[in-house]
Amino acid sequence: MNNAQPTRTGGRWTAIIPIVVVALLVGAFAKRLIDVESGQDPALVQSVLLNTPVPDIDLPPLPDREPGLKTPDLKKEVSLVNVWGSWCIACLSEHPLLMDLAEQKQVPIHGIAWRDDPSASVRWLARNGDPYDLIGQDPVSEAAIAFGVTGAPETFVIDGDGIIRYKHIGPITPDVWANTIAPMVEQLRQ
């Protein structure tokens, strides 16, 4: 009795391996869940085009809304480029905010009418208001792919030199505007 010893010579330290592995996995899963909860969804594709010049585009205008949108237009001042379509439900939800921004002349907003029937785009703007400075049509995703767009709406913040500084995926909410985009626009203007 008094010289009782562990009969296993395998060593006890191996027993904690499963616990450590499970703890690590739980930690990793928990981090992902928290990330997704707080909006850093890894399924949202981060743009590799950040801090690179806007791609070369030369998009035709909508009917009776000359001119279109081309790269030199984006190198004049800090501006937003909003990828949208009349078929895009989420675009409608951010539209009132864009209208407010345009009315208050906060920052020029250019539109890319992505994969949309031009007459449908025009009707949509007539019905919901037109906050855009310039609009270019992108019927076959030429500009969308060049900008690395994965869905609509997406909004790019372009600085005065035509460098892409930020990309927002999904509708711009008042919160996103006030806390992220507005301060960035302010900073880029200095």
């Binding site: 296993r8 010579t9 590799v48 995703s141 030429e142 792919i145």
Partner: protein
């Protein structure tokens, strides 16, 4: 006979469905060799809308436009790598369905092998572990004592 014909159609349809991809005839290149290259490239590119389909399989409009762009690049003289690089420049490594070996993907590529090595080591330890009899370190007196206890218990059981 009508039923047989219908059954044949359904069967033929389901076989066709197995090999059908999203590529539509009007998208295809005239040169079969170039078209084949476009198909190969498309199967390595992720549909960024649907995310777990290749652009070759996806019916999403953006996938369709990406397929068209792949063919445009091929006609412009790009190699397969050039076309993939063109897409990576715009969408990042994410657009590749077969991740490249980079410092960020080392764990993804080699993690399973590391786990396998661990598993083999642990399994080997368990298999080689000596049985209780082999590790018995009781003194002769203690063995006698144990023996006596066993005898006693067995005797009690028989009563």
């Amino acid at each position: 006979m009508k039923i047989l014909g219908l059954a044949t159609c359904i069967l033929a349809g389901s076989v066709f469905a197995l090999v059908a991809y999203a590529v539509e005839p009007d998208e295809m290149l005239d040169d079969p060799a170039l078209e084949e290259r476009a198909r190969v490239i498309s199967q390595d590119l992720r549909c960024v809308v649907c995310q777990n389909e290749t652009i070759d399989e996806s019916n999403a409009t953006l996938a369709q436009d990406m397929r068209r762009l792949v063919r445009q690049r091929i006609l412009a003289g790009d190699s397969n790598e050039d076309v993939l690089a063109y897409m990576v420049d715009r969408y990042g490594d994410f657009v590749l369905l077969r991740p490249r070996v980079t410092s960020q993907t080392l764990l993804l590529w080699f993690g399973p092998f590391i786990l396998l090595v661990f598993g083999v080591i642990i399994a080997a330890r368990y298999i080689k572990r000596p049985t209780a009899a082999e590790t018995s370190n009781l003194s002769p007196e203690e063995m006698a004592e144990v023996e006596a206890l066993i005898q006693k218990t067995e005797g009690a059981d028989q009563k």
